[in-house]
Symmetry: C2
Subunit: 452 residues, 2 copies
């Protein structure tokens, strides 16, 4: 630890409690709304996923009285169970947001906590947005502190699992109007449950780890409010959060410019529901597909040059199910070339088993090259008739260099809501989220996201 301890816990409590929405720059508020729109859409799109169905079936027998809505579903349940299920739905399709530096997915647990609380007590839209922004900001900074240079972390931890409970507890503390001392204790109680290990990736536990964090963070705020005690310096203390989750933490990532420079501005949104390192390949595949409209049999060979990270994380040529498919570049390139689309249907078990797609996965050749940037890829497709089409992608859609535009985010929301809400209801929810700063009652968002 540093010679002069950095009081990260107290600093995050100040950020959460003492930053009026009006003190946040306009671009920060706008990015908060973009993050919220994106994650609400993801939650609607994931609400009826098998993992959500099964988790709800497992937990409903233990759940309490109906305090909060399950978004994209008809049920209501106790706020803690709702926080878990709604976070799960938000991340189950791997379609949620990603902080570009920290590789953490901050919005789901904070959104779920904010909406569950808004259904329990009066919360204005402006306060909900402010709480959401401070929670996301805290998560991005905490995750950087244990994983981004000069910090030295370990890829073995799920950053979303370990960092998001504290961010959710901060959003809850603000909405519950806890004082500074109690908020610092809420951070400590949330830190007691900070957890998530990468061995579980590629299974239902991938979204379960943020789900646990969302629930733990909300619960921590209630427990702190009830007088449960904890460390007031849980992040920076000896044997604390930072020391446990990084070989060399860098707590200045939490405190430097806090409230002035905003990490939420580095948040990015996925155009495709799969590992972010596959995205430039999908940009290329979709472009070639639109140009050539090839039948599966017409494609003789696909040659790819990619950043090594793409193969390190997404090396599976023949994924055995949807969760492995989320991290298989072969599946997504093949499906995008054949179908000319790369949405949720292209990652299902059915799409993975589709014979034309499965066969094409075997005709894809990947070479890695560190000279290809993370947000780029080169692709050449040779057809059986001898034609050859190639495409070079730099700054793929959704990257920091070429962010998703508001209209693209709205379209993504609409696509996710399709089949879950009727079109006028989906449109009304989107409009309410875009105009959250003017909502009298943030709980209206949760109610509008319920499905009949």
């Amino acid at each position: 630890m540093a010679d002069t301890p950095i009081e990260a816990t107290a600093a995050l409590a100040r950020l959460a409690l003492d930053t009026p929405l009006a003190a946040m720059p306009q671009n920060v508020r706008h990015e908060g709304i973009r993050s919220l729109v994106n994650v609400l859409g993801c939650t609607l799109g994931g609400a009826r996923h098998e993992a959500v169905q099964k988790t709800w079936a497992a937990l409903a027998p233990f759940a309490g009285s109906p305090q909060a809505s399950l978004l994209g579903r008809s049920e209501r349940t106790d706020a803690l169970t709702a926080a878990l299920i709604n976070t799960l739905a938000s991340s189950v399709n791997t379609f949620d947001d990603t902080h570009a530096e920290a590789i953490v997915h901050p919005s789901g647990p904070v959104m779920a906590t904010v909406l569950a609380l808004a259904e329990m007590r009066p919360v204005s839209g402006a306060e909900a947005l402010a709480a959401f922004i401070v929670g996301v900001e805290a998560i991005c900074r905490l995750s950087k502190a244990v994983s981004v240079a000069p910090a030295k972390g370990s890829i073995a931890w799920s950053q979303t699992g370990i960092a998001c409970g504290i961010g959710a507890s901060l959003a809850a503390a603000r909405l519950m109007r806890l004082d500074h001392d109690t908020t610092r204790i809420a951070i400590g109680i949330a830190a007691a449950q900070a957890s998530g290990i990468r061995a579980l990736h590629g299974t239902h536990c991938t979204p379960m780890m943020p789900a646990n964090a969302g629930q733990a963070g909300l619960r921590a705020a209630f427990m702190a409010a009830a007088g449960i005690t904890s460390s007031r310096t849980a992040i920076e203390a000896r044997y604390g959060f930072a020391e446990c989750f990084a070989d060399t933490p860098h707590l200045a990532h939490v405190t430097t410019g806090l409230g002035e420079r905003w990490e939420i501005l580095g948040n990015t949104y996925k155009p495709y529901p799969c590992g972010i390192v596959i995205h430039p390949l999908i940009d290329a595949a979709l472009d070639i597909s639109r140009q050539a409209k090839p039948s599966p049999e017409a494609i003789a060979k696909v040659e790819i040059r990619a950043n090594p990270a793409a193969m390190a994380l997404c090396f599976r040529r023949h994924p055995k199910d949807e969760f492995e498919g989320q991290v298989s570049l072969y599946q997504w390139v093949a499906a995008a070339l054949i179908r000319g689309r790369a949405g949720i249907p292209e990652g299902t078990d059915q799409a993975i088993a589709e014979p034309g797609i499965a066969a094409l996965r075997d005709r894809i050749e990947v070479a890695t090259d560190p000279a290809v940037p993370h947000d780029g890829a080169d692709m050449a497709v040779t057809l059986t008739d001898g034609r050859r089409m190639s495409r070079t992608i730099r700054d793929c859609i959704g990257s920091r260099g070429r962010p998703m535009m508001d209209a693209e985010l709205d379209a993504k929301f609409g696509s996710a809501a399709d089949g879950v809400l009727r079109a006028p209801e989906a449109g009304a929810l989107l409009a309410a989220a875009r105009g959250i700063e003017r909502l009298d009652d943030a709980a209206g968002l949760a109610r509008a996201a319920r499905s009949a």
Copy 2:
């Protein structure tokens, strides 16, 4: 990790599912009963502790229908909340069991899980005991694998927090008759929540970390049964439990002699509700107190020679509250000398504030000496009239060299139950626990532990 991966996850599933009670040696079954009697008493004694009251107040608004009893209290609640509250009560007085090598407190989370399940479905006493034993065994071995040489772990992790969820999930898997594959998945789901950091020690979060583990373990079994997926090798996999929680794990501690050599035989029980390294000092202080019956003012000086671990962990001369008092050797030596007792009343805020005790804490001098064994201490007390009494302790009461006898455990149980259950009810519960192998319905234990 080892060259040949050790299949610890599958091995623990086999232990949990394929070990009939009759295949466990008689001394193992007897130690299981001793662990159970001890932890039931601890739970009754802690049931009305402030931390339990406040946690129940915080969580009751979210709790579900009454499925399981809160031991030592009148309420019933959903099984997951009961698992949390009962584990919390079991450890809140730091009076529970300790595996002598791993410094983990295994019984609370497993007991709470077993009893909650026994109230939901028919469970015989024999099966409850077997499930309890395999859960405890798994925890002791897992904790050794990440903390005991040749493993290299980190004192920053709460061993009880990180290991106990998996043990509880195994006990639950057995009682729910899950198959091997589903049990391995339950281990993975529990591992997703493995958490607990030492920075929070000395606060209500000390018992909250095992409480979270007990709840997470029970929930993991229900989620696995519902079809949620996870890694089947969560303990030994790359980026898995062992790699995350140890610099150098030693998974042979999990698998070597599993089902033949029993770690539960290394479980120990505290005669005093405080840090185990203080115990030899208390033996000495009580003996001198009984001999001299000194008034507080009559004690001029207390000289101690102790193992360095006693001061490393319990150095606080003037604890500010009960939770710091649990790890203050000064408090316990002073209180034991003055009162001739070292029970729960000697560690309360009131006892810490008592002027005679507080003043005596300043007249205690501690020298550390690595030649003094962990289970030993030397003490000399000089009275104002010039008399000097000394006492050398080796193999203090409750150590592996001088275990608590059954009669001492029964007396500890009786003392903890006093004021919670009426004497005949306490006696009946103790007899039922001692005879658990012959109980038709293990839920009778939970019902008998309810308080009017």
